[in-house]
């Protein structure tokens, strides 16, 4: 277990510096005029030019630029937007909403995916299984840019089941429809992986043993098979977080939820370089940390790895 953790940590540190370096290089390196790139197509005043040069140490060498960028990032100093707002404060205000939204989506997706996935696997080939598979196919085919506006139109405006926008009043109720939309971006894959994994495990020898022990089918499935089947599903959570992040970008924009994605989407539209750089860097870090946690969780679930 200890060696496993150390190895994963070392790998993660490498990935961490690699990924942040790539993001940083994409934003600053080899650019004719990085300041113009940060400001988009707007004209840049001399004072802004000076401020940006100082902020990103653009008059120094490339590696030291990266050094300053990283140390600012790790101390939580994200600088100011082109319009002069403090990016850290903006982030601090926005993240609880995004957290609430994504937690709702994650729980919703996981519960649905695991229950439906197990049912589907048990009755594989039956009408329920085929129905569920067809439904996941439909979900997979619906990119978030299609789903979010259409769901808002149908369930928010036409049918009026949910509030069409959340805006300032963030509550469980106003976030419900956005959370459902966000959940659909990951639920189909999770469900399919659960199903495949349960199908494979149902054929495993230890299932035969469990049945020979006179255990009820319910116990065989939900205790013996499920624990084994969840191992590949857990690894999905890390990947899913990336999907959720991009999903939140669109969902928060569509439903007017002033969270991280909403601000980032605004920053992209307004070509506010510093804001995009700051937010994306933080999200990359969150993504990497969550993936490390998932790796450790994986070890906790699978004893064969723990004692490697």
């Amino acid at each position: 277990m200890f060696r496993y953790i150390v190895r994963r940590l070392l790998q993660m540190i490498l990935t961490f510096f690699g990924a942040t370096f790539v993001v940083f290089a994409l934003m600053f390196a080899n650019q004719d005029d990085p300041i113009q790139a940060l400001a988009g197509e707007k004209p840049v005043s001399a004072s802004l030019r000076a401020a940006l040069t100082e902020r990103y140490h653009l008059d120094e060498g490339f590696l030291s630029q990266y050094w300053y960028y990283m140390s600012n990032l790790l101390t939580g100093d994200l600088g100011v937007t082109l319009t002069g707002r403090d990016i850290s404060a903006l982030l601090a205000e926005a993240w609880p909403r995004t957290l609430q939204l994504s937690l709702m989506a994650i729980v919703l997706a996981a519960v649905l995916a695991v229950t439906a996935g197990v049912w589907s696997a048990i009755r594989r080939g039956g009408a329920l299984d085929n129905g569920i598979l067809a439904f996941t196919l439909l979900l997979l085919a619906m990119p978030i840019v299609v789903l979010a506006p259409v769901a808002q139109l149908v369930f928010g405006m036409e049918l009026g089941w949910f509030p069409a926008t959340a805006s300032r009043e963030i509550s469980f109720y106003t976030l419900m429809l956005p959370a459902i939309v966000l959940a659909t971006t990951v639920v189909a894959t999770q469900l399919r992986v659960t199903r495949t994994s349960v199908v494979e495990n149902l054929r495993a020898d230890y299932v035969r043993t469990a049945r020979a022990k006179g255990l009820t089918p319910r116990r065989v499935t939900w205790v013996h098979v499920l624990r084994n089947s969840l191992i590949p599903v857990i690894t999905l959570i890390g990947v899913d977080l990336g999907t959720l992040m991009s999903g939140a970008l669109v969902t928060e924009e569509v439903f007017n939820i002033p969270g991280v994605g909403f601000n980032l989407a605004r920053g992209i539209r307004n070509e506010d370089g510093p804001l995009v750089v700051g937010f994306v860097s933080i999200l990359v870090i969150v993504f990497l940390v969550v993936n490390l946690i998932v790796d450790l969780l994986y070890a906790a679930l699978d004893p064969r790895i723990r004692y490697e």
């Binding site: 020898d205 230890y206 043993t209 020979a212 006179g214 084994n228 191992i231």
Partner: protein, 343 residues
């Protein structure tokens, strides 16, 4: 006390004087996309307390399927029991509802599988998997069940049982894992134990240890043991009687000594001749010619006829040879058993 209580009301209609286990004319088939595979075609045999019956045959002869049908753990679909009886103390298990059937498993009839590494659940500790039996069947508390589990590991002579109870299957050696399997099967004091190739996956030295442990535990408890194997060497040491299966039928049944001394079926004879023997060093081994039959397309008449050196016209005709009683407690399904016996 609770244990006795529990076993008393397991099944209504049990007759203590009836044979321990009696299989009559069992038929199992697998319905697949490419046709119906007839895995078991009228297997019959009988087991008494304290007796060891070896079921012998090549892979695909239906011996494992028979065992799974007795346990009621046949995967269905594709497996279907189409005919026959599995009588335990007079009660036909095949007619019982599933929830009654479940009480028989592990309680009355238990099973050991070939590859203990894959047969044990990799993500639960050995202790959990043992204690689970007491909790599910006896409703014991966690602590009691754990103590019983430790006692079981002691009985199958796993050193430091108290510590190893928290280990996972992959942390045990092959032989130790098979001991865990045995402990699991014996947990609820079953009267019948089915061991499906219990030593095939093990080293030769460990094989002997496991077999003698099994034999010893069987003696202590006066269990009926069904030993499924393709290894004639293993059989000779421990079995009382042997049933040889071919293409889903018991083609010869006899006390172990008789089979080795004078096989009555050409297939049994061929099997014996294909074992390397020290006293016949230098002689050429005879392999059985041809392949085992494809179960979707079993030859008519005697299923062994395409590979048999005694085969004559009647062997090709349906119905297949009946079980000729050739001596007390001895049957063979061969029209020409006299010729084979060398009379």
């Amino acid at each position: 006390m609770t244990d006795i209580q529990a076993s008393m009301d397991v099944l209504p209609g049990l007759d203590p004087r009836a044979p321990l286990l009696q299989i009559n004319d069992l038929h199992v088939e697998f319905r697949t996309r490419d046709g119906v595979a007839k895995a078991v075609n009228g297997a019959s045999f009988r087991l008494s307390p304290g007796e060891t019956l070896a079921i012998l045959g090549e892979s695909g002869c239906g011996k494992s399927v028979t065992a799974q049908a007795i346990m009621g753990i046949l995967e269905s679909p594709p497996g279907h029991i189409t005919r026959g009886e599995v009588r335990y103390r007079g009660v036909d298990l095949l007619k019982l509802p599933e929830h009654e059937r479940r009480k028989v498993r592990a309680n009355k009839i238990a099973m050991i599988f070939q590859d203990a590494l894959s047969a044990l659940n990799p993500v639960y500790t050995v202790g959990f998997q043992l204690a689970e039996l007491f909790r599910a069947h006896r409703g014991m508390s966690r602590a009691d069940a754990k103590n019983r589990a430790i006692g079981l590991l002691d009985q199958v002579r796993i050193p430091a049982a108290r510590a190893r109870i928290n280990d996972y299957p992959h942390q045990f050696s092959g032989g130790m894992r098979q001991r865990v399997m045995i402990a699991m099967a014996l947990a609820l004091d079953p009267e019948v134990l089915i061991a499906d190739e219990p030593t095939t996956a093990l080293d030769v030295t460990v094989q002997a240890q496991i077999m003698s442990l099994l034999a010893e535990l069987q003696r202590q408890r006066n269990m009926g043991l069904i030993l499924i194997t393709h290894d004639m060497g293993v059989v000779a040491d421990v079995a009382d009687r042997i049933s040889v299966m071919y293409a889903g039928r018991v083609i010869e049944e006899a006390p172990v000594y008789d089979i080795y001394a004078r096989p009555a079926h050409p297939y049994t004879r061929a099997l014996l001749e294909s074992i390397p023997r020290l006293d016949l060093k230098g002689h050429q081994l005879t392999a059985i010619r041809g392949l085992p039959p494809v179960l979707t397309d079993i030859p008519s008449g005697c299923a062994f006829n395409p590979r048999c050196r005694y085969a004559k016209d009647p062997c090709l005709q349906d119905p297949p040879p009946p079980a000729y009683a050739i001596a007390p407690h001895r049957t063979a399904r061969c029209h020409f058993f006299r010729e084979v016996l060398g009379e």
